[in-house]
């Protein structure tokens, strides 16, 4: 349940951005999270809701964009996305190599944008 820490960090970033852009309220916050990220959206929702009660951020909706895992083949350098269910059996569609692929995307935990009113 490290989502409390994530929510805390998220709120600080949003508050800074609100001040920078003169926003009084925030309706929507978009979060990008990679397939490998250990963050659980439901847990973050819960933490965020609890921690924003009675603040300018109360009621803001978190929207999630999942970033798929993409790998670069260790042998032929083809880039591909395996099924998430089979992260560890990800044979390269081009040459069949199963191991030691480089992770290109899938570790993200980013705040992408904020929507609110001035």
């Amino acid at each position: 349940m490290h989502e409390m820490s994530i929510a805390d960090a998220l709120i600080r970033i949003v508050e800074t951005e609100m001040a920078n852009h003169g926003l009084r309220t925030v309706q929507r916050i978009t979060i990008q999270h990679g397939a490998l990220s250990t963050m659980v959206p439901e847990a973050l929702d819960l933490a965020f809701e609890a921690m924003t009660r009675g603040t300018a951020l109360e009621g803001a909706v978190l929207e999630y964009e999942k970033v798929p895992l993409s790998l670069r083949c260790s042998k032929c350098e083809t880039t591909f996305s395996p099924e998430v269910r089979s992260l560890h059996f990800a044979p390269c569609p081009s040459c069949g190599e199963e191991f030691a692929h480089a992770v290109l995307t899938g570790k993200e935990l980013n705040i992408a944008h904020i929507e609110g009113d001035t």
């Binding site: 820490s5 600080r12 970033i13 250990t38 560890h88 980013n110 992408a112 904020i114 929507e115 009113d117």
Partner: protein
């Protein structure tokens, strides 16, 4: 008026910036910092007890102990004569860089070669928090099952070293060393795997050799 503002920032930016500070502190002191992670009960403290005892004449080592509530582990480590600083996370499931910065205030870093950070027992949360360490070292005990690298890919994908502990129990459990290693290597070709038993001492020499080499590299 409604406004949409692009941000594009890692949510854990603040922690990562503190981790960069820590990296500088370790580098200034030629200190090898290792982030030790595992499930509860996999043998982190036992590994430390053995390592601190066996290498006491070769390396100057200290431990930061992350625990939910107790100081049991810190007392076990202190019994070896090594310096141990306790961080109680009060229920928090991982250590973060601000806690480490705070703990370092109680330590004489110039008098150290190796700093072990014993993270909270958990295969999920600690993986997301950079502590500025040179390497993440993950322990997996054979009683936990060889599918763990598959179930917790983030932890194993980020680790430089994997210790497969409690190999003295292999005759009694269905744990395939080969399978665990294969899963760990799928997303992490560079991972170094040491099968060990902290109880019998089997397999610890290669781990010690790695540790001494890594500590030496920090002093060059």
């Amino acid at each position: 008026m409604s406004k949409a503002i692009p941000v594009i920032r890692n949510i854990l930016d603040a922690n990562n910036r503190l981790a960069d500070q820590l990296r500088n502190v370790y580098a200034e002191n030629n200190l090898l910092a290792l982030n030790l992670m595992s499930s509860p009960g996999a043998g982190k403290t036992s590994l430390l007890e053995r390592t601190l005892n066996d290498l006491r004449d070769e390396l100057r080592m200290a431990v930061i102990e992350g625990d939910l509530q107790t100081d049991n582990d810190a007392r076990r480590v202190a019994a070896t004569g090594a310096q141990a600083v306790q961080i109680n996370t009060e229920g928090g499931c991982h250590l973060d860089s601000s806690m480490i910065l705070e703990a370092l205030k109680q330590m004489d870093l110039a008098a150290l070669d190796v700093l072990f950070i014993e993270n909270v027992g958990n295969l999920v949360c600690p993986a997301e928090f950079d502590l500025g360490e040179k390497a993440k070292v993950t322990l997996l005990s054979v009683t936990e099952g060889d599918d763990k690298p598959e179930k917790y890919p983030m932890m194993f994908a980020q680790s430089k070293v994997l210790l497969l502990n409690k190999i003295d129990l292999l005759p009694y459990v269905d744990f395939d060393l080969e399978r665990a290693t294969r899963f760990a290597r799928a997303l992490n070709p560079e991972i170094i795997v040491f099968p060990v038993s902290c109880r019998t001492g089997e397999g610890l020499e290669p781990w010690y050799a790695w540790l001494k080499e890594a500590a030496l590299a920090e002093r060059r």
